[in-house]
């Protein structure tokens, strides 16, 4: 059994419009899945976050198969052999889909059928050479491909020769060529553009969601991008971004800037300049609801390894000791952004933390309830935000 072919049938080269349609479908599927995932993450009401993880896996599988399909399509368009008759007139070589391996099927074990525009090779046994060129057998299977995917003239020759070499009961008949102007083909360019446009719009929806509508106070617009752990209704796990609205039930937070600095005692500190606006007049912001930590398992550990902001801090700037102005401190009333003075319900303040591990990724946290559980009271503010940042990337005040 040698790999010598006759009446070879090659794959037809894919034309440009087919490739364009393929790319359009890819963009559409990616956009659709992304938008669905975003919506599902918003709706999901599971502390465990398993649902969003499953969705993430589904997205990865979809993307993988789409890319694989396109790659296969590209590979097959490189004029590869689809099938051929063996040079000793005893069987057929077929390009088997999964590993693009040529398998040999003797005529006696083969049945060829044309149905619904597909050519199907159904076999009882097939033989092939493995990577070490050793002969192996595969039993009972079939291979299918579109009639239009192969060269029609070569197919016609193949059918003629196949019919000559096989008995009357195995003979096959090449179906009439399908009408060139089917509805889909006729409107294919428009169909492709439509898919591409819809896909782009859906992906834009996702980008908008990730952008959290900076400037918008709408709850539905806040960030749901997951940095690898989990994102739930009660806990948002994000990368810290400046000038972006982090919305909770009671407040909108905007972290305007972040700095590194040293105190006179040579302790490293991080300073966040934060603007808080209260949504209701009597909502009170507690300093103890803010934390910093390097603990990656903050959600399961709770705040055991996290610490609260520092009180009135003096830092070294230009060799002089200088106070951090408008710092969030322990004093009563200080943290009330809905203050009664007329005209505004927001205040800008500096929240200062001791930076115990400046070389590691740190997490800036706002949480009005215990992170290792769910909010107990309906009045507890939610969601909590766990915002990852790299202290080394912050501007240093010195």
């Amino acid at each position: 059994m040698k790999r010598e072919y006759q009446s070879v049938v090659h794959y037809e080269k894919e034309n440009k419009s087919t490739l364009a349609l393929g790319i359009s479908i890819f963009v559409f599927v990616l956009g659709l899945v992304s938008a669905l995932v975003e919506m599902q993450i918003k709706w999901v009401d599971s502390y465990q976050g398993w649902y969003s993880r499953c969705l993430g896996i589904c997205v990865m599988i979809t993307v993988f198969f789409t890319i694989w399909g396109l790659a296969c399509s590209y590979k097959k368009s490189q004029n590869a052999i689809a099938f051929a008759i063996d040079s000793n007139d005893q069987g057929v070589w077929i390009n088997s889909g999964w590993q693009s391996r040529m398998i040999y099927v003797p005529f006696s074990m083969l049945e060829i059928k044309f149905t619904h525009g597909m050519i199907t090779f159904k076999y009882q046994k097939a033989f092939f050479y493995n990577k070490k060129s050793k002969l192996r057998m595969r039993s009972l299977g079939n291979e299918s491909l579109r009639v239009t995917a192969v060269n029609r003239n070569e197919l016609r020759n193949f059918v003629a020769q196949f019919n000559q070499l096989t008995s009357h009961d195995k003979n096959i008949k090449l179906p009439q060529k399908a009408k060139a102007t089917s509805v889909l083909v006729k409107y294919e360019p428009m169909f492709g553009k439509g898919l591409l446009f819809t896909g782009l719009i859906l992906m834009l929806t996702l980008i908008c969601g990730l952008g959290s509508g900076s400037g918008s106070s709408d709850d539905s617009n806040h960030d749901t991008s997951d940095t690898g752990t989990r994102s739930t209704e009660y806990i948002k796990y994000n990368d810290l971004k400046f000038n972006k609205v982090y919305a909770t039930k009671k407040f909108n937070f905007v972290i305007n800037k972040g700095y590194r600095a040293k105190t006179a005692q040579n302790k490293q500190v991080v300073i966040f300049n934060v603007t808080v606006s209260a949504k209701n007049k009597y909502d009170y912001l507690d300093k103890d609801d803010f934390y910093i930590t390097t603990d990656k398992d903050i959600i399961s550990d709770g705040t055991d390894y996290a610490h609260n902001p520092m009180n009135s801090t003096f830092i070294m700037v230009g060799g002089k000791e200088t106070p951090v102005v408008n710092q969030m401190n322990d004093d009563q009333n200080y943290c009330d952004p809905a203050f009664e003075s007329e005209g505004t319900n927001k205040k800008t303040m500096n929240i200062v933390f001791n930076l115990s591990e400046p070389k590691k990724s740190n997490y800036f946290i706002y949480s009005a309830f215990n992170l290792d559980s769910e909010p107990n009271d309906k009045d507890d503010d939610r969601p909590s935000y766990i915002l990852k940042f790299d202290p080394q990337k912050l501007e240093a005040l010195q």
Binding site: F197, L200, L204, I207, C208, G211, G213, S214, G215, N243, V254, N256, K257, Y259, A261, I271, N273, T275, N311, S312, F314, I315, V317, K320, E321, T322, P323, V324, V325, N326, Q327, N329, D330, D331, Q332, N333, Y334, C335, D336, P337, F339, E340, S341, E342, G343, T344, K347, T348, M349, N350, L397
Partner: protein
């Protein structure tokens, strides 16, 4: 395709361009403390009339270096010296006249500062440097002047503002005692009157 690019660019630009702008109240009067005499008395002499013809006067304010209001080394007591004058009050009005300490409010970074009355014992407030710290004034007589001091806990280098509103209305006068000048919002610039607070004010 071009249209899609333009649409995408426009939407992205919108997201990146929106920022927050903090408006500053420019209508308030200014009477700022400066670095050289942070613990000195700063006269103000503001007068307003409340209900029942009672005259309220802010004589001035000063930060107290001692005593400290709490264990926090950087918190200070802001003592505002006020006077209540009843020259225009008639005897019938005097029967029902009552003054509480809310004719003056102190704000530290836009939040109302804690009153010292809560933190200190009454006995302590009767000893110097305190003289006339009160929660309220009742049994008022006509043709008299009462001293009425208000003490609050503040951080002098923050934005500190008084609101003088004897009628407890929203039209009270705002008096800025310290308005932070800062380019980064974190530390004072050299133009700030308290720029050297770290060396001299502590």
């Amino acid at each position: 395709m071009k249209r899609i690019c333009y649409l995408l660019s426009a939407v992205l630009m919108m997201f990146f361009s929106i920022g927050s702008i903090d408006a500053t109240d420019v209508s308030s009067s200014q009477s700022q403390v400066n670095n050289n005499d942070i613990y000195a008395f700063h006269p103000l002499n503001k007068v307003k009339f409340g209900d029942e013809s009672i005259e309220f006067k802010i004589l001035g304010y000063q930060y107290l270096k001692d005593p400290l209001p709490s264990s926090n080394d950087h918190a200070r007591i802001l003592l505002v010296k006020c006077q209540i004058n009843t020259d225009d009050l008639d005897s019938d009005e005097a029967k029902y006249a009552y003054v509480s300490n809310d004719f003056l409010k102190v704000y530290d970074n836009n939040s109302e500062a804690t009153r010292i009355n809560v933190e200190f014992s009454k006995k302590r407030l009767q000893r110097p440097p305190f003289n006339y710290v009160r929660d309220s004034l009742s049994h008022i007589s006509e043709n008299k002047t009462y001293e009425f001091d208000i003490c609050s806990i503040v951080y002098p280098y923050d934005d500190i503002e008084l609101k003088f509103a004897p009628n407890d209305g929203s039209n009270g006068e705002k008096i800025k005692i310290h308005q932070v000048k800062s380019s980064n919002g974190v530390v004072m610039d050299s133009q700030d009157v308290l720029a050297n607070y770290g060396q001299e004010g502590k």
